[in-house]
Every structure is written in C-alpha cells, then in structure tokens.
C-alpha cells in the first residue's frame, strides 16, 4: 500500500487535534470506508439490518454491503418476498444462500437464483414448483452444493423429470446434492441414464424417497457403466460418490450388493425403509446381504434402519451370524446406526463393538435383545465413543449405563424409551466431563437423579426428561442448584410430567440460565403463572426479556386465554416458535399472529423448532464436523479459483 494512500486513509479521522485515546468512537468518521465495508461484509443478514437501523451513515454502508456480502443465511424466519427482495440486490460475490422459503413462490425465483451461487440451501419449498430445479440448472453453473426440501408440496404444484434433467446437466460442478423429495414424480424411461450426464465430482447424494424400480434402474446402469460391455468406452457413472443416503421401499440383499458394487469409493451409506407389508424372502435383508457391506473396505459410516412407521416389522432374517460376518469386514467403521435388528443379541452387538477400533458413534434402536453385557468390559477396549444412542432398548439397565459411562469422551447420549433406566444411571453420567446432550425420555429418573445432574460436572447443553413421570418440581429446582448445568443449558424438554407445577418454571426463571428452547407440552399442572415467569425472565448482562426462541406449552392444563397477553410486545422478543392449544381462543390466536407475523405458531400439537430432529438418519445434535462460519471462511480462502482436483 503506497504511503500516500496510507496518509489519506488516516486523514479521515485526523481533523485538527486528534488525541489518541479520546472518545467518542463514531465508527463511520474514524474508519476508512474500505475497512467498514470489510467489517459489514462479515455480518449475517440480521446483524447487518440491525446495524442499518442505527444511524444514517451506517444504513447507507450496510445497504451498500448487501451488494458484496459473500453469504446470506437467514433461517430463523420465513421472509416474504417483499421483505427479502431489497435484501438481495444484484451481487456478483454472493456465493452462499440459505433460506426458509415457506412464504415464497415461483415469482421469487428471479432474485433468488443467480449465477454466482456455489452453495444453495432452501428449506420448506412447498410453494415453489419444479421450475426451481430447471432454473437452478440453467443459471447456477458453478453450484457446488444444493439442498432442497419439501418442493412443490402445495396442491396444484408439481415437478417432473425434465426439471431434474435440467438440474443435473446444468450443474456440472455439483459436489453435494440433497433432494428431500419423493422421487416417484421423476419416473421416466431415461431416469437411469440421466445420471450419466450429472456432475462427475458428485460426492454426496441424498434422496428423500425413491421407489424400488427406479432405484434398480439407476443402480444397474451404474454397475454396467463400471464394466462396459460395448467397445466404446463410456465414462462410469458416479465416479466420485462417497456419501449416499436413501429412503427405499425395502432394504434387500440385492440392493446392498448393487450399492457395494456400484460405488467403489463409498465411505458413508444411509439406508432406511418403512415397509407397508411384511417383506418376503427375496426382498429382504438377510445375513448374506450384510456380508456384502464394505466390500471395498472404505466404509466409515453405515446406517441401516427399518422404520415401524406403517407396521410393526423388523429385520427378521438377520441374526447374530449376520453381525459376526459383517464385523469381519468392517474394521474401518467410525459410525454405525442399526435400527430394527430385533433378533440380534449381545453376541452380535459385541462383535461389532470389539472389531471396530475407530468407532465413535454407535446407535441402536429397537434393540430388543440388547442387554448390559454389551458394555460391561468396554473400558478394556480402546474405544472412544462420543455419540451413543440406544432407543427402545428395554433390557438395558443402570448397570449397562454405568459401564457405558467409562467412555469419558461421551458428548451425546440418547437413551429415550429405555424404561428400566433410573437414578443410578444418571449418577454415573453426571461425572462425564464432555456430556452435552442427554435424552432420558420415558425413563425411571426421579428427583434424586436430577440432583446428581445439578451437582455434576456435565456441561449439558440439551436435556430431555419427557415423560419421566416421577419427576416433581423439587427435582427441577435441584437441577438448577448452581452446578455447571446453569452455565451451559439452552435446550430443555419437560413435556408430559404430571407432577410438574409452576414452581419448577419459577425456579427456572430465577436461575437466570440462558434458555433458548423450552418444551413443557402436556403438563396438566402448568398454568399462566409459568408463562408470566418466563416472560419476565432477565438474563445477566443483556437487555431485559427472555432469551427463548422456542416455547411449547401445547395442552398445558392450567393455561387460560389470559396467557396470550404475555406473548404480545414487549415480551419474548426472540420468540420464533410457539406451541399453544389453539382451541383456547381463536380470536386471540389471530390477533397474536397479526402483531407478530414472523412467529411460527403451532396450534395442533406439531413439534416445534428445527433442532427437534427425529429423522431417523440424523443425529440429534450438531455434528462435530460442522465448522463455524469463521473456520469455513478460512478454509475456503479468498480465491475465486479453488483447485478441486484431488
């Protein structure tokens, strides 16, 4: 930088006498515009708009900054087109866009979809049609990552094969593709072949649901492309695929075999099925099928789940032998999810645990025969489990959890619906120094267990005690006794506790913890007093007003229409999701929605919030792999040209 430029830049602030340590610090007068611009371009849309509302010059600077911010992530509200369009002016530097599109329709596509985009994530696209896919394929040639959900779910909207074709042929640099849609609408004779024209660097593919016939077409085409019979050598399909996540009709041996053959680089596989009829022998997973998993030795994550959404069913044809065979070839695994293997006993589970030396994440649901023995000598292994989920494992008792707690690295522990777990288990868990998420829904925990947690050393971020019927308000008070829980807790679920009273919520409010999500649905003894206490919560060091973003008081027995006034201004300034019994008073619900148009109100008992993920193929909390914005920024660097050859 030339000396003269340096001089001029500083001159801006050097008007007359300039004592170095004096106040005031009028930002816009003392900083060169270029520096102010770089500060503003680091901000998220919300902070940028906050800055814009402070004074004239910052407003000008912030509005200008919108035309060169590199990323625009606004997921906390569902903006209307009127609100959003001025915030997305022409911007050749915009690379990353993440939005909730619940209130947007096709007319917004023109200002959303732009050629500079590399990373696009659009949630809740129910009012958008398949045209979105075609436009993305047409305009976003540089796109690296695309994630869409709920496309065209509103009546009258649809998407067709041609849209998919345009998307796949247009976005030739695509590395990650997540289409949480029902692929039956894409059915077409060319469905299998169109993927041959897709990006060759596609490494991660996630599909909502795909019918078996379409999937088999796709897989046969893929396997065929690897061993071309014709003299003309055609490029193989999915040459770079490493992650695959599918929801299918039935997981079968045939399917597993094809996948293992078709994707030699696969390191992560998620398969889920939800049978509507009992699978027959030729379309089911058997011990033989399990043997074919990881035939290339690269697999690090596997998830096989049979959902009981439509009928009570499980992997009847898999037993310990299958698991023994699978564990033989799976020593590279770091993460395993197994759901619906009801015939597998401790022998099978132990075989897996003891042969996967790098195992970090272990998840079993409907492990009907899993007992404490699985974990009893886990301290003798070198295992460093960090995420463990044992759901509906009813033979698991306190002893098993005590054994499990030898893993001092445990961060996430999901023990929902394990009815035989109680205070002894919680006591052992309270010593875990890294435990952040603990789910104990439906367990036999009592107030004693909560006092252990209150005095313990877990930096708990999220705690769920849903349906732990023996818990009373005294337990909640002892939870906030002043231990490490008070500093870290942000998400709390106290739903369906018949003995919970307003006392508990008063204790919570008095503890001044920075609670962000609170669910107390279905508690018959919670009333208006609780709402009032939460509304008047004050957090240390920040402006008055509760920090709650998510509050669920659906079907709380003593809440009356009077509670509605606590949701009007100036209370609950950060509230984005509210669950109330709509039957209370329809007029008040409408009035509330008018004054708070961006509040998401659930009146029919729907679960709230985006962190409430019961999606079988995902873990409950943020993955460790998720980097924060700054890390990502550093890794991506400032270069336009990123060398992706690897």
């Amino acid at each position: 930088m030339a000396d003269e430029e340096v001089g001029t830049a500083l001159e801006l602030g050097d008007q007359g006498a300039h004592p170095p340590d004096s106040s005031p610090l009028a930002l816009e007068h003392y900083l060169p515009f270029a520096i102010l611009a770089s500060i503003l371009s680091r901000l998220d849309p919300r902070s940028l708009c906050s800055a814009a509302a402070t004074c004239r010059s910052l407003r000008g600077a912030a509005c200008h900054a919108l035309s060169f911010v590199p990323s625009f992530n606004l997921l906390e509200i569902a903006p209307t087109a009127d609100l959003l369009e001025p915030l997305l002016p022409p911007n050749p530097y915009l690379k990353s866009l993440k939005l909730d599109c619940s209130r947007l329709d096709d007319s917004s596509i023109r200002f959303l979809i732009r050629p500079s985009l590399q990373d696009l994530c659009l949630h809740n696209c129910e009012n958008l049609s398949g045209r979105l896919l075609a436009e993305i394929g047409g305009k976003c040639r540089d796109l690296r990552s695309l994630s869409l959900s709920s496309l065209a779910e509103r009546r009258g909207l649809s998407f067709v094969f041609a849209d998919l074709e345009e998307l796949l042929t247009g976005c030739s640099q695509l590395e990650t593709l997540t289409l949480a849609l029902d692929f039956s609408s894409f059915d077409h004779p060319n469905f299998g072949q169109v993927w041959a024209n897709a990006s060759v660097v596609l490494s991660c593919l996630e599909i909502g649901y795909i019918p078996m016939t379409m999937l088999m077409e796709l897989l046969s085409a893929t396997v065929k492309s690897l061993h071309p019979s014709s003299p003309v050598k055609k490029p193989s399909m999915f040459p770079s695929l490493q992650m695959l996540c599918l929801s299918v009709d039935y997981i079968t041996d045939h399917l597993v075999g094809f996948i293992s053959k078709g994707f030699p680089l696969l390191s992560s596989l998620d398969l889920q099925d939800a049978p509507i009829m009992e699978p027959i022998l030729t379309s089911d997973l058997t011990n033989a099928g399990l043997q074919q998993i990881n035939s290339h030795g690269k697999l690090k994550h596997i998830s096989l789940l049979r959902s009981q959404e439509f009928m009570f069913t499980y992997f009847r044809r898999v037993n310990d032998v299958g698991f023994l065979l699978m564990s033989d070839g799976c020593s590279t695994l770091e993460s395993i999810c197994l759901g619906g293997f009801c015939r597998v006993t401790d022998t099978g589970f132990r075989a897996i645990i003891h042969s996967c030396a790098n195992l970090r994440k272990f998840r079993v649901s409907h492990g009907s025969q899993l007992t404490d023995l699985v974990f009893h000598d886990i301290s003798a292994t070198s295992l460093l489990l960090t995420h463990v989920s044992l759901r509906w494992c009813n033979l698991l008792s306190n002893l098993g959890v005590v054994g499990l707690s030898d893993n001092k690295q445990l961060t996430v522990l999901d023990l929902r619906d394990c009815r035989n777990l109680g205070d002894e288990a919680v006591k052992a868990l309270s010593y875990l120094p890294k435990l952040q998420v603990l789910l104990l829904d439906g367990s036999d925990t009592t107030d004693k267990g909560l006092s252990y947690l209150g005095n313990g050393s877990c930096p708990l971020f999220s705690l769920s005690l849903r349906g732990c019927r023996r818990i009373t308000s005294n337990g909640i008070s002892s939870l906030f006794g002043g231990g490490s829980v008070n500093q870290s807790l942000q998400v709390l679920d106290l739903s369906r506790l018949p003995n919970l009273t307003d006392e508990a919520i008063l204790a919570l409010a008095k503890s001044r913890i920075q609670i962000v999500e609170l669910r107390i649905r279905g508690c018959p003894n919670i009333g208006d007093v609780s709402v009032m206490a939460l509304a008047s919560m004050q957090i240390e060091g920040s402006s008055p007003g509760s920090s709650l973003c998510v509050l669920d008081v659906y079907e709380c027995g003593l809440i009356t229409p009077l509670a509605f006034r606590w949701f009007k201004r100036p209370y609950f300034p950060s509230l984005r999701w509210l669950g109330m019994s709509g039957s209370l008073n329809r007029d008040m619900v409408d009035a509330l929605l008018r004054t708070r148009p961006f509040l998401r109100l659930a009146c029919r008992g729907e679960e709230l919030g985006m962190t409430f993920l019961d999606n079988a193929s995902r873990w409950y909390s943020n993955e460790e792999e998720e980097m924060d914005e700054l890390e990502k920024w550093l890794l991506e660097g400032e270069d336009e040209m990123e060398d992706d050859s690897n």
Binding site: M1, D3, V6, A9, L10, G13, P20, D21, S23, P24, L25, A26, L27, E28, Y30, L31, P32, I35, S38, I39, L40, R42, L43, D44, R46, S47, C49, S50, A51, A52, A53, T54, C55, R56, L58, R59, I77, P79, L83, P86, S543, R569, P570, F572, P573, S574, L575, T595, P597, F598, L599, L630, E631, L634, L635, G637, E638, D639, D643, N646
Partner: protein
C-alpha cells in the same frame, strides 16, 4: 538470533524486534529494504501502547503460516509435524508444498486463530486502534482479525446496543424512522429502531 529491527513509536519509545516479527508489516518491510544506515524506523502515527500490542500479535504470527494461505501452499518447514527442515536459505525443494490434508497444519492454524480471536476480544477502543494500526502498517493477518473482532462486537446486538457500543447518534428523520420500522420489524418483537 536473527537480524533485528529498531522501531520508534509516535511517543518516542523504542522497540527492538526480530526481522521475522517486524516484517509481518509490509510497510516496515519496504522501509527497511531501503538503504537505511542506522536501521531505525520511525512510526509517528502509532503510539507505544498500540505498537506493543501489535508486536505481540506479530510475534505470535512470526513463524506460522498466514491464516490466508491455503494449507496446500504451506511450506513444509512451517508444518509442526515436519520438523527441522528449515536449514539455511529456503531452496525450492525444501519449500515445496506438502499435503493439503495435513492435520498438523490444520490444527496449528486453528489454534492460532483461537489465540487471535481471544486477542481481539477487547474493548472497541482498542480494536479501533488496532484497525488503524493494521491499516497503516499493512499487516494482513492483524487487519483480518481486527475486522473479525469489530464484526463480533456488532453481531447479535439490536440497534440500540450497537449505538451504545460505537457511540453513534440516531440521526433519522421521523419519516425515515417510519421506514426503518417497516423494513426491519422482523428483527425483533417489538422492534424499536
């Protein structure tokens, strides 16, 4: 110990530092390159309190890759894992880039960034001075981190809080206030500009 550079702050204090530390500043580097007989560089616009903070930062960054360097371009002698190859003048072979996926380099840079983030968790007055100093002395990494520090101060705050922090005055006209209320009502409930 390598060659040292003497720096004189605006209020007359002298700081003697190694070249590697001082040359983080492109300005100092270019001034030192000129034939300067007593190699004593005056910095009239930076006072000693700020200069010592700046030098603290530079000392930490002296033998680390810049946070802007892609990992693939980090010379092997800077990698904490590959030790002892910094012999003599860097020949083209020894400074060849090593694996982009080197975990040791990644960890080292992330650790440095953590240190930097703590470094800029200071009051805004100091950040303001650091910004000016980094701008004047052209120190890329310090500028990057000071900008991040300032952005961090703004993040998550409502307009009134931002005004208090930066001592700004609300100079909107009543019509403008009405516009602001309409445009930014989604920020908070209730929204008061």
């Amino acid at each position: 110990m390598g060659k040292t550079i003497k720096l004189i702050s605006g209020d007359g204090e002298m700081f003697e530092v190694e070249e590697a530390v001082a040359f983080q500043s492109n300005i100092i580097k270019s001034l030192a390159d000129e034939d300067n007989a007593d190699d004593c560089i005056p910095l009239p616009r930076v006072d000693s309190q700020i200069l010592s903070k700046v030098l603290e930062f530079c000392r930490k960054h002296a033998n680390s890759p810049s946070v802007h360097t892609k990992f693939a371009a980090i010379p092997s002698e800077l990698c904490p894992k590959h030790d002892g190859s910094a012999a003599g003048a860097s020949s083209s072979e020894s400074s060849s880039a090593h694996s982009e996926t080197c975990r040791a380099c990644y960890d080292a840079v992330m650790k440095l960034v953590q240190w930097d983030l703590e470094f800029v968790k200071v009051d805004l007055d100091l950040i303001h001075h650091l910004l000016k100093a980094a701008n004047y002395l052209d120190i890329e990494d310090l500028m990057f981190m000071a900008v991040e520090g300032a952005a961090n101060a703004i993040r998550g705050n409502n307009p009134e809080e931002i005004r208090k922090l930066f001592d700004l005055e609300n100079d909107f006209t009543p019509e403008e206030e009405k516009e602001i209320l309409k445009e930014y009502s989604w920020l908070d409930d209730p929204f008061e500009p």
